[in-house]
Amino acid sequence: MSRSGFAATLSRLLLQNRHGSRVLNHVGSLTAPRPFCSESDPRSRGRIKQALSGVSSFTPPANSSHDWVGPPDRMSNLRPIKYHIPEYESPLESRLRKLRQETEDWNHQFWTNQNISFSKEKEGFIYSCLKEKGLELRDEDGRKRTLSADEMAEFYKEFLNKNYQKHSVYNKEWYMRNFTITFLMGRVALLKTWRKLGWRQQDPKLK
C-alpha cells in the first residue's frame, strides 16, 4: 500500500517536472522566460515552481478522489487546482490533466506579469506626474498622494493601448485551450460512463 502511494507521488513529481520543460518550449514572446535550471535538476525546478506559484505546499488528503481548488493567488488572482490522479489513469485522462496543469501555469504566468507590470507602471506614472507638479510622493501627514480620476484615466488608456497586441494573442490562445480542455473533458466523461456501464455488464452481481 505504501509502495503504491510512493510510486504515485514519484510519478506525479516526474510528470510535473516534464510539464516544466514543456511550458518553457510552449511559451513564446507572451511571457517572460521562466528561470528554470537544467532538466536534470528536478528538485530546484520544483522549488522554483513553488516560489513562482506560491501555493503548492498543500497536499490533498489521501482518501480524496476529487480535485482540490485553492485560494486566489496573490499575484495572478487565479485559483490553483491540485488534480487528483486516479489509480488507473488512461492516456486520455493523463493528457487532459497535463493540459489543464499547463494551461493553469501559463495563465498564472501571464496574469502575474500583467498585474506586476500594471502596478509598476502605475506607480511610475503617479511618481512622474507628482514630480511634474513639484510634489513629493507623500504629503505632510505621511500619506501617499493620489491623482484624480481624470489624471489616472490617461494612464489607463495608455496602458490598455500598449498591451493591445499582447492581449489579442493571449485571447486567441486562451480560447483555443479552453475549447480543447472542455472537449477533452467531454471525452473523458464519456469514457468514464462507458467504463462504468461496461463493468456493470460484465459483473451483474454488482447490481
Partner: protein, 460 residues
Amino acid sequence: MGGSIILLLGTAPGGQVRQLYIFVKWTNIHLRNDPELNLLSPCSIQTMSQRVKIKNHPVNPMQNHGEKNCTSYHTVLWYVTKTTEGCQRAKPKQEALTAPLVDRHPHLQDETVIRQVQQISAIDQHPSSVQSSKETLTQDTEGASSEEDPSTAQETRQWKEIKVMLGDLPGIYARLSKIRLTALVVMTASAGYAMAPVPFDPSCFLLASLGTGLASCAANSINQYFEVPFDSNMNRTKNRPLVRGQISPLHAVSFAAACAVPGITLLALTVNPLTGALGALNLFLYTCCYTPLKRLSITNTWVGAVVGAIPPVMGWTAATGSLDVGALLLGGILYSWQFPHFNALSWNLREDYSRGGYRMMSVTHPALCRRVALRHSLALIGLSALAPALDVTSWTFPLISLPINLYISYLGYSFYRDADRSSARKLFFCSLWHLPMLLLLMLTCKKSRVDEEDKSMAHS
C-alpha cells in the same frame, strides 16, 4: 457579506475545553442591500449547530472577557467579510452578550471560556459547506493552540474539494446564469408581448417568457465560461462559480446546452419560428460576437445594445408573428437605454478594465463615452414621443413618461459635464429603475383595441 459565526466554548469545571459549539447564522440581509455584489444567496435566515469534539487542551489565559466563574455566556461574534484578495476572512467583533442560548443549552452553565480561534477563513456562504470545513476546524483549533505556522494552517483551510453537492446546485446555477439579469431580460420580453395589439394568450405568453429566460441563462453561462481568467482579476466578478472552481467548465457548458436547446426549441416550435430565430440570433450575438469583441474593440458596446434590444422584439413577434414597426420601436427604446446604463457602469471600472484588457469607451474614448450616454438618454424622450405616432400607445404616454425621461437626461447631462464617480453612479442607479417604470407606463397607456373597434364601427 452577511454571514456571522458565533463561537461558543463550553468547559468542564476542570478548566479543560471539552466541546466546541459552532453556531452558524447566515443572513442575506446585507446581500440584498448591496446591489454591487453579484451574488444571490438562496438561504434565508438559518441556524445550524454542529458539535465538534476537540482534544483536551489546557485553557489558555483568557482575553478581556475572561471571568472564570460567570454563568453567563460570552460570545465572540465573527463576521465574515470580504477582503481585497477575494478570500473571506473572519474579523473578530468583541462583544460580551448574554446569549439567548443559555435557555437552549442549560448544561453549559459551567464555566465558559472564550477561545479566540485564529481565523475562520474561506467559509462559503452555503451552510452545506460547513460540513466539509468541520474537519478542518478541528485541525485548526489544534494547530492554533500549538502555535505552528499559522499561515500554512490558514492556507490549508482555504483549499476546497471540487465536489458538487446537490444542495449547492441551485445557487450555483443562479449565479452562473446571472439570474437577476435574466429576470430583467424576461421582463422586457414580457413587456414586448404585452404591448402587442393582439388578444392576450396566457399560454403563449408563458412559453415565450420561459423560452427567452432559458436562452438568456444559456448565453450568460457561456459568457462566464469564456471569461474565467478575466473575471478572476476584476473585483466585480471574482465570486462567480467558475472562477471559484465550484463547478468544472464542462459542467457549465452542459448547463448552457441544457438551457439553450430546450429554450430555442420551445420558442421555435410552440411559439413561432421567427421568435425562435431571433432567440438563436441573440444567443449567437452575445456569446460569439459581444464576448470576444469586449477585448478587441469598443464596438462591443453597440453590439451589446442590440443584444439588449432584441428580447422585447422577441416578445412582440411571439404575440403577432411578424416584425411590426411597434416591435422595432420597443427595440429602439431598449437600444437607447443600454448606453446611459452601461457607460455609467463602466465609468467607475476603468482601472479594472484597463488591467484586464477590456476595450471600453470609458477607458479609450472617455469623451465619446459621455457624449453617447447623453445622446441616448435624450433619444429616449424622442422615442417615447414616437410611440403614439406609431399607434403603439395613446398620447398620454409621452406626457406621463416625460418626468422620468427628463430626469435621466438631466443625470446624463451632469455625467457629461462633471464626469466623476458620483454622477456616473447616480446615472447607473437611475437607469435601473427607469426602465421598469417606463415599460410599466407604456403598458398603462397601451392603445386600447376596444377603442379602435368602436372607431371602425362608428365609421362604417
